[in-house]
């Protein structure tokens, strides 16, 4: 079947996007449309005594201005976090209260203080500028490494020392013993730089209150509209779920930042009720830099011990994770169960200990960003492996091979049990694709041009397919992470798949349809995928954590099983055959070895006409399924990066980047390659270009594309990709998930390549030309002639 599993089917969703007919939230304009803008905290920490909105209210077009205390009075709830972490001493985590709009203290530059509603966007923004703030500036804690210092400014009164939790994983005594007896110990301190996710579509919300029905509709840029509805309803008390419809139409990228339910969306809903108008807010890019949840921001000290043969004997990490001013929805789990549990990497490590201290600072909330915790773990491990190999005079690929896990399932020392993999094969393939054998010659040739050439590896494993509900529940999650699907066969045989996953670039409209095309042999054009609307799809947990494949598609497979079973019963009854003799091929149900058959649409029709169904069968052909995974899935990969550094300027060019991945079963290789291209590019961005920078007072210095360096077309190469599949035994498709791999694996490959080129292991991301140049100067032999 040409449109089935494994086929490079061109995307069904493309037409509307390439013709300019996509429907993103900001493209929606309702009748009675009004526009919102926010008054925001201008400093990193302040006591807000009040606002004077008289002048602003008198401006043309201004409809209303409302503040946090009013919202509180109306019973709108405080922002919640979805995962409770317990500290190593058994105490529950401590986190500051987050009001959707400030009631007393503003805690970061951009904290929402008041909403202005006006007839046009320009009027709303102008009036927001005219609102006068009465505030006292307070001392602020800005930098991750400072938050725990004695005398650091307190971000929240109820969080002493800014410590949210002090969490541990693994066995400290065992790790210490291993290190004490190690033949060689490698130590590194690393910064995992703070990033801004930057989906190209800024966040946006259109909130509509229908007074007659006492009903709300919210169009919003969400990766998980049902979760948004649940949280808005159950915790923020906007409206009960049956009185609230959340629609995430076309969404222009998310990368994690659109998982969360932010103050602006809540406030727009509330303001639509207050004003009786449909209220629309669209973030500008500066607001996006200020208020979209940032990612990463870890400072880590790592120690790894090896025996004389190069086998890892123990690994220990000590991390401070910056959570920002408030604890966003998944902020607490990212540095713990999505990071600490991955500290074994793809290596057989007998002793591991990780300690993570999560801290408040007067900066925007930090939460999951593409990879979420797993990139931080991978970066730490893979920098350590490369550095250790250099220190021990070993080939970095050989050191990895010596330590690879060889047998599956594999139980790590840090909770997880890996499903399947072949790490040797991936590395072998990558070395071949990257022509590692020819590297020395290329290096010599580069040297003849005055360039320094370096090569760096990253071999990694990630936990995807979030997540087994009972397991995450036992670790503190407030929700289960299953997925649901509904498959409807219409009387004419066309098929609708309703899914709780959400596509904001992931190509579900095509790949999910491939599953039904594959199963029933129907043309892919006869399959429609419906998602993103709480009125259409019963429930769903959304898209993040590379879960739409392993979890979302598994739910669809279960629903397809049920549809197939019923269709076969109908066919067996009509054809007077045994169900066991039926095969489905090319859109027909056939009795094997005979010419008796029914076309797929005849079965659809029979199900709905219901004149001749098996005794007791209900009419119709529509099935629902929920899939709750029994474990995470574990994609893995081997990446090799080759760079050339200009020693005079520190300018670094990636000359070749090779990625060989194991995603288990692949539904559409074209789509999967696209995910790797994008993920690797974000990883290269982290490694070489991107970084959120604050000044000492907490002002954001990188609040536009003039100051925050996004990877552009000429910053990255064309990629060399390949894959090897070891299907996951834990879901019906054997699929592992591919959305995050590139971003998880690539940063250390890049840094390992640059440090190889310059001969200095001491280099932090982003490796800008000035940093690379400085690192090079630090190891340059003093010139005798000078």
């Amino acid at each position: 079947m040409s449109d089935g599993i494994g086929a490079r089917v061109k995307r069904k969703e493309d037409k509307r996007f390439i013709t300019g007919k996509g429907k993103y939230t900001d493209d929606i304009r309702t009748e009675n449309q009004a526009y919102a803008a926010f008054v925001r905290c201008p400093v990193a920490h302040a006591k807000i005594n009040g606002i004077n909105a008289d002048a602003a209210l008198a401006m043309e077009g201004v409809i209303a201005i409302h503040t946090g205390p009013e919202m509180k009075e109306d019973g709108i709830g405080d922002m919640i976090t979805g995962w409770a972490i317990t500290s190593k001493d058994g105490s529950p985590m401590n986190c500051g209260v987050w009001n959707p709009m400030v009631t007393t203290y503003g805690r970061y530059v951009g904290d929402a203080i008041a909403i202005v509603v006006a007839e046009t966007q320009a009027q709303a923004r102008a009036a927001a500028e005219a609102v006068e703030l009465d505030y006292e500036e307070l001392p602020a804690t800005v930098f991750t490494g400072d938050a725990l210092n004695d005398g650091a400014a307190q971000v929240h009164e109820n969080v002493p020392g800014n410590m949210i939790y002090d969490w541990e994983i693994g066995d400290e005594a065992k790790a210490n013993a291993g290190l004490a007896n190690a033949h060689h110990v490698t130590e590194l301190e690393m910064v995992n730089n703070r990033l801004s996710p930057n989906p190209m579509e800024p966040r946006s919300a259109v909130a509509i209150y229908d007074e007659a029905e006492d009903h709300y509709t919210l169009y919003t840029t969400s990766q998980n509209p049902h979760v948004a509805r649940l949280v808005l309803s159950a915790f923020y008390n906007v409206a009960p779920e049956h009185k609230l419809r959340v629609i995430a139409p076309d969404v222009g990228g998310g990368f994690g930042s659109k998982i969360y339910i932010y103050p602006e969306e809540i406030t727009c809903l509330w303001a639509s009720m207050k004003t009786g108008r449909s209220v629309k807010w669209t973030s500008d890019r500066t607001e996006a830099f200020l208020t979209d949840a940032h990612g990463r921001d870890h400072v880590t000290k790592a120690t790894m011990g090896f025996d004389a043969d190069g086998r890892i004997v123990a690994f220990k990490t000590d991390t401070i994770a910056n959570i920002g001013a408030y604890v966003s929805l998944f902020a607490t789990v990212t540095p713990t169960y999505l990071h600490g549990t991955l500290l074994s990497g793809c290596y057989d490590m007998p002793a591991i200990y990780g300690n993570v201290k999560a801290v408040h600072t007067n900066t925007a909330p930090v939460d999951a960003y593409r990879g979420a915790g797993r990139p931080e773990a991978t970066y730490t491990i893979e920098r350590m492996m490369e550095t250790a190999a250099r220190e021990m005079g070993m080939d970095p690929a050989e050191l990895r091979r010596k330590n690879f896990i060889n047998e599956f399932p594999y139980q790590t020392e840090v909770i997880l049990q890996y499903d399947s993999g072949d790490y040797h094969k991936l590395l072998d393939m990558a070395q071949k694709e990257a022509d590692v054998a020819g590297f020395e010659a290329r290096k010599a040739e580069a040297a003849s041009r005055g360039k320094l050439r370096g090569i760096g590896y990253s071999t990694f494993v990630e936990a995807c397919g979030l997540a087994p509900s009972a397991a995450v529940g036992s670790l503190g999650s407030a929700v289960g992470l299953w997925e649901s699907a509904e498959v409807r066969v219409n009387p004419v045989g066309t098929i609708e798949i309703l899914t709780g996953s959400h596509s904001h670039g992931q190509s579900h409209q095509t790949t999910f349809a491939q599953l039904a095309a594959d199963r029933f042999g129907v043309p892919i054009d006869n399959v429609q995928v419906i998602h993103g609307d709480t009125d259409k799809v019963q429930f769903g947990m959304g898209t993040y954590g590379s879960r739409s494949g392993p979890v979302g598609m598994s739910a669809i497979m279960k629903a397809l099983d049920k549809v197939e079973a019923k269709a076969k019963k109908i066919a067996a009854h009509t054809l007077e055959a045994s169900e066991d003799d039926l095969v489905i091929e090319n859109g027909e149900v056939k009795v094997a070895g005979t010419d008796k058959k029914m076309a797929w649409h005849e079965i659809g029709l029979a199900a709905y006409i219901a004149h001749n169904l098996p005794e007791g069968m209900e009419p119709g052909l529509k099935e629902t399924a929920f899939f709750d995974p029994v474990n995470f899935s574990f994609p893995s990969g081997a990446l090799i990066c080759e760079v050339e550094v200009d020693p005079d300027t520190g300018v670094t060019e990636i000359v070749k980047f090779t990625a060989v991945d194991d995603f288990g079963t692949i539904i559409n290789p074209m789509v999967v390659e696209g995910q790797v291209h994008g993920g690797v590019t974000q990883g290269i961005g982290q490694a070489m270009l991107e970084g959120v920078v604050h000044d000492e007072s907490g002002q954001l210095l990188t609040a536009s594309y003039m100051d925050y360096a996004m990877p552009r077309a000429d910053d990255v190469p064309s990629y060399t990709l390949d894959h090897n599949s070891t299907p996951s035994p834990l879901n019906p498709l054997g699929i592992k998930g591919c959305g995050e791999a590139g971003a998880i694996g690539s940063p250390p490959a890049v840094i390992n390549a640059i440090t190889d080129a310059i001969g200095n292991n001491d280099l932090d991301m982003p490796a800008t030309p000035s940093k690379v140049w400085a690192a090079l100067q630090a190891v340059k032999p003093a010139m005798a002639a000078e």
Binding site: G20, Y24, N198, P199, M200, D284, G674, T681, D714, S718
Partner: protein, 165 residues
């Protein structure tokens, strides 16, 4: 308020607009042509690229009042008679888009790049495409397939202009 008459996608439109209206807002809000996207406020992302008198322009940098009498083409206007433009087709063929938000700007920039190179008889190499895309940011695709799309469309557009000669 100033009255302007502009040809947009081949149709003359006359509107009263305030003097500070950006072309991007004029297209999106006044004409409801929402294919032109706004991704930044510093003229850096290129999601808003349209053609003015046949040349790529970031519509967030142009004041609509300055365009009285101009010919504006947006992504909604590049296909002819129901046939997709070769650049649009190439983006579909090569998976040159994921979320689609940068895509209108990429397509409009891509057409302009190919037109310029072909008018000047220059070869459009991968390096040249990457350098020319300096003003367009995509967060999803890593550019790999956008480059393939533009290469592919360039080949087809060269064939078309040959055929037209």
């Amino acid at each position: 308020m100033t009255t302007i008459t502009v040809s947009v996608n081949g149709k003359a439109v006359t509107r009263d607009i305030s003097d500070n209206t950006l072309l991007s807002d004029f297209l999106r809000e006044d004409l409801r042509l929402t294919g032109t996207h706004v991704g930044c406020d510093t003229s850096q992302c290129g999601a808003c690229v349209v053609h003015v008198d046949g040349t790529a322009v970031k519509s967030c940098t142009a004041l609509a009042v300055s365009l009285d009498g101009a010919n504006v083409t947006t992504v909604e206007g590049v296909s002819t008679g129901g046939d997709l433009h070769p650049m649009q087709r190439a983006f579909n063929d090569n998976h040159g888009l994921q979320c689609g938000f940068c895509t209108p700007g990429m397509i409009m920039a891509g057409i302009d790049i190919v037109n310029r190179y072909q008018a000047e008889g220059k070869t459009l190499t991968e390096d040249a495409i990457r350098a020319e895309l300096e003003g367009n940011i995509c967060r999803c695709t890593g550019y790999h397939n956008i480059v393939r799309s533009i290469e592919d469309a360039a080949a087809e557009m060269a064939g078309m202009s040959k055929a037209a000669e």
